[in-house]
Symmetry: D2
Subunit: 345 residues, 4 copies
């Protein structure tokens, strides 16, 4: 099956190449980058020298549609919608890694991102979290791959919401992300000398664009509107997200019982690892891999349940998840190209 | 004034030396280390070569008491109590950086640390957080310097508790600490190759020994028992703590009003900086300095107030705070030797 | 083909598991660790949970020999020789990652490591650098996998020595290595708080055990005794080595001509990438991969040729190279399981 | 004495503020920044909030000259010369941290930087390395503060050149620098996600602008033209430089004798620490301080002498050195404000 990676020179695009290079069924046929158009992949990204003999081309959906069966779009939000529209119009299956098709409500999209340029497609996009939407993803033609923070929040949280086991108000999330989540932007705040040895919160409360996304999915899981207070942080590392979700159980729910909730929900999942009692998720055990590690601890003294998760933001938080969805959409084994062991140490 | 640093070869001891070297009124007269006894300070710690011409000696309180007016004890908990007892018996003023005199209740101490070896002194120790106990610290003979996490939790939290402005149940704290907080222990988990590029929670809920300490002080501030759920993390950096405290306001309390609470509480404080609206505390702006930066954000949608702080765990979280207390105890200007600018970048 | 990883809980052992998990012809049948014997691999190394369902067993060569066709021995030097002896005696093909069979001269071995415990095997071991010894490695029964520094020194240097193009005296090497090269030793100097943000030389001149190893191979390439002065450094990162080799050309040899020497030597090599003019090797472009990137710059003003290289010390510097040799020894395609793209960013 | 910091918002400017804040004789009266003009220092650099109550102003030498006795100019090369010219014309003592007055030969300057805009001042500038030019610096009106790499190269090297103890051809230098040396430029290659966990050489051989500078001073010390091959690297850390200088002794010169050369040269120096036998310089022992640590190792087998050094590039490599020179120029004790202990851990 021939695939395109559109917007291949950003970090999620580059990570798609890294994963697809080991995929036995997908052949990388087209890579696009406005900025690097004309350059060979190996010259623009020396890490890939000797592994992928292709040149970057500019993004021309009409031309690409004739040459591939499936496209991964890794473009900035708003820029993605028209390309997706064109590709879908030409019958190409699309895995979109932008925010453009994650929010089902055009009004909400407008409030956070501006006018939607292909709102007619919102209804047909499937939210690409296989652990929640596996059946809908089989054969899906348009998949909205979730954001990195939402993946890290929803996987530990949804089983408790679906089970009606926790209060739906007052949920708070404290996340810590590697810097690659911010992309390769020329921003003074992203310079090495500004971030090394640092850690800081940013966009506190209801300011980050991922908030409406995980509230949408949390509300769907709970069957009622759920609002979540969010405190993301930048970590002095490149990859990975660890997240704490603080919730209050409706009835007494100790650590063991809460762990059973996760264990039951994910018993059949290959990529969600419910940690043994006492262990905590961490970045190194998921780095470079498609795993999401989860754990839960109850503090019954003050009625708090602490849900913890860890992912690699570029894999399970973006490009690995996209490939997982693509495998499902194409009727392939879900784990193809995704069982590479984490890079430790 | 002649001072001793007892247990000078651990990270807080070393940091005491770094600060005291610039102190105009304290002269370092004695430094002890069981492990390095006999070595010159500069040979054991090459960073200090050329700055301090002293040798480490073993800890002998009786001998030390004759030679100094004031002692900083930076020994492990339980090991500290007998030394403090001996020094106090000989009339030496003591700033204790261990946990031995922080908990006022001997029962609570026993539950977390074992039998107390000098419980008779518990009543006379002053909790060494000048912003809360300044008057008691003036002239104090025995000061229990707070733990690093409690300092980072209490400074943003106490003004809201004292004002009766927040619910006292369901408080949760998510902290992220540099690795130096764990000391120079030979523990596989503290090796560079195990921690670099990582971040993980540990001792989740009510497992960390600092919990009873900040609950004691939070309860005192609230005038009622307060329990706090705590999730500390290790950051892949050496120094610094950033803390998020999640609380629920009793009445509507927006970001601006909440910021005023902090601004009022700390208007006269030299070392607590209430950040301008929109800014968030971070490690680099406090590294190497005695500042505690604080901020607050309200998420009125779901009734959450997010209190944020940043300190250098070895300065305001330990040795700088000890010197601040010592200045107060000795009737000196509180900021002596403590106005060094943070090390940025 | 069934394989054992003996000494699987050190960093090179763990890296062998990571690589072998994706190998289509080798099945991991036995993993040993004295320290972790009895534990499941996934419990001891949570990163591998869900990927390898085996328990660690103690090292018993007689038992292992009955169950595998091939063994990777990743034991400390001196400890390795008796195990290799036993395995070879039972007809098992051995890839040894220790230093025990790298030095062909028992006297030299004794000077650096002490008495050799299986000196009779020295003559039959093949030095496992496929780019130098490919033919000898085909079908080899005992392979001595090179050290990480020697790999980074020899690949850029040997073509110039073989060609008689450089002076053989006064060669100096300045290397910078990630901390994982030191293993998971409980050594105060390897603690995170001691190494973070640091860089320092160690074992300067002729003190590091890798010196006799790369001198042996450099001398073989030159056809005369070559001595090399060596300055290794520890970098504040986990993986990777960058090396500078300073040599003096015999006749005028500009950058372009020198680059041709490398390009000719490695034209057919899959894992040695001679960089385009002007580019320099770096850690991120090889991290997690089996590549060795090399480059050369002439400074004709003062008669110096600068040879540069980069490898991942755990892959091309150890476990990846071992698998490359094993592929050759077993008559398999040399690159099996070794074409995974580097982990960037 | 009132001083100006012109170009105060770059890293060396910021570091000047950090050091001058503790200076007992210099009062910061003016700070300039084109980019931040109008902002308060504490708003632009939150680390300094509460420590310096000044606003940035645009650079207007005529106005500044009326208000200060001494100016530190921390402007980019070429931009600095006209400002220095104007300040000197108005009788202000100038410590220039740019490259504009380091090269005594206008031709050489032109070759590396372009036409000099104030060449008439070249003859009057004193090279600001107090260990080499102390007498000339006393009372100096214009000081050219050395580059960071030259400081790290010259301090270990010059005593051997002055003594005629080493060959003057074939000298090679391998340096490793923290990223702050590259300034706060908006360059994709300086982003955190591009540099973290990396190390690479750049501008190899004779391409870096510091080469003519250290060749000028090495030649002056040797009394003959000396050419030096240079391989700088970027380290994944913010501050610090470690340097290896490889030279060949003229006569047999063992480690002990070579160490004596350094010990004799720097016996009276407060800021150069000749390390005890066996110890190697490293970043952490000098971080934040004005020390330069040096060591030497002979490898007599192949006739190589390895000289090692470590400095903090922003202190002894820039702003600390500038203050040291200013102290000398003003007749103050040389070490004023410069004895702060290194920040370890």
């Amino acid at each position: 099956m021939r695939v395109a990676v559109i917007g291949a020179s950003g970090y999620t695009g580059l990570e798609l190449l890294r994963i697809l290079l080991r995929h036995p069924e997908f052949e990388i046929a087209v890579v696009t980058s406005e900025q690097r158009a004309g350059a060979r992949v190996g010259d623009a990204f020396p890490a890939l020298r000797g592994l992928l003999d292709l040149g970057f081309e500019p993004n021309d959906p009409a031309s690409i549609a004739k040459r591939v069966d499936l496209a991964f779009t890794a473009l900035p939000h708003a820029a993605s919608a028209p390309t997706v529209q064109a590709l879908r119009g030409a019958g190409v299956r699309v895995l979109d890694l932008s925010a453009d098709f994650r929010l089902r409500d055009a009004e909400t999209y407008r409030a956070w991102y501006g006018e939607h340029k292909a709102a007619e497609l919102l209804g047909s996009a499937v939210y690409g979290l296989p652990e929640l939407y596996r059946e809908a993803l089989r054969g899906a033609e348009l998949v909205a791959v979730p954001g990195c923070y939402p993946t890290s929040v929803l996987l530990p949280l949804v089983p408790f919401l679906r089970g009606g086991l926790i209060e739906t108000d007052g949920i708070v999330v404290d996340s810590k992300s590697g810097v690659s989540g911010a992309g390769r932007k020329l921003d003074e705040g992203l310079l090495f000398s500004e971030l090394a040895d640092d850690c800081r919160a940013y966009k506190v409360g209801n300011q980050h664009r991922h908030v409406p996304e995980f509230e949408q999915e949390a509300s769907a899981a709970a069957g009622e509107a759920v609002s979540i207070s969010f405190v993301p942080h930048l970590l002095p590392t490149v990859r990975g997200i660890v997240t704490s979700v603080f919730v209050r159980p409706r009835a007494g729910l100790g650590t063991d019982a809460a762990r059973e909730v996760l264990a039951d929900a994910y018993a059949q999942e290959r990529f969600v690892r419910v940690l043994p009692p006492g262990e905590t998720p961490n970045l190194r055990c998921v780095r470079g891999s498609n795993f999401c590690d989860v754990a839960v601890f109850a503090d019954e003294r003050n009625g708090t349940l602490v849900l913890l998760s860890a992912i690699d933001n570029l894999v399970k938080g973006a490009s690995g998840q996209a490939v997982q969805c693509a495998n499902l959409a194409c009727g392939l084994p879900e784990e193809l190209a995704l069982l590479e062991a984490p890079l430790v140490p």
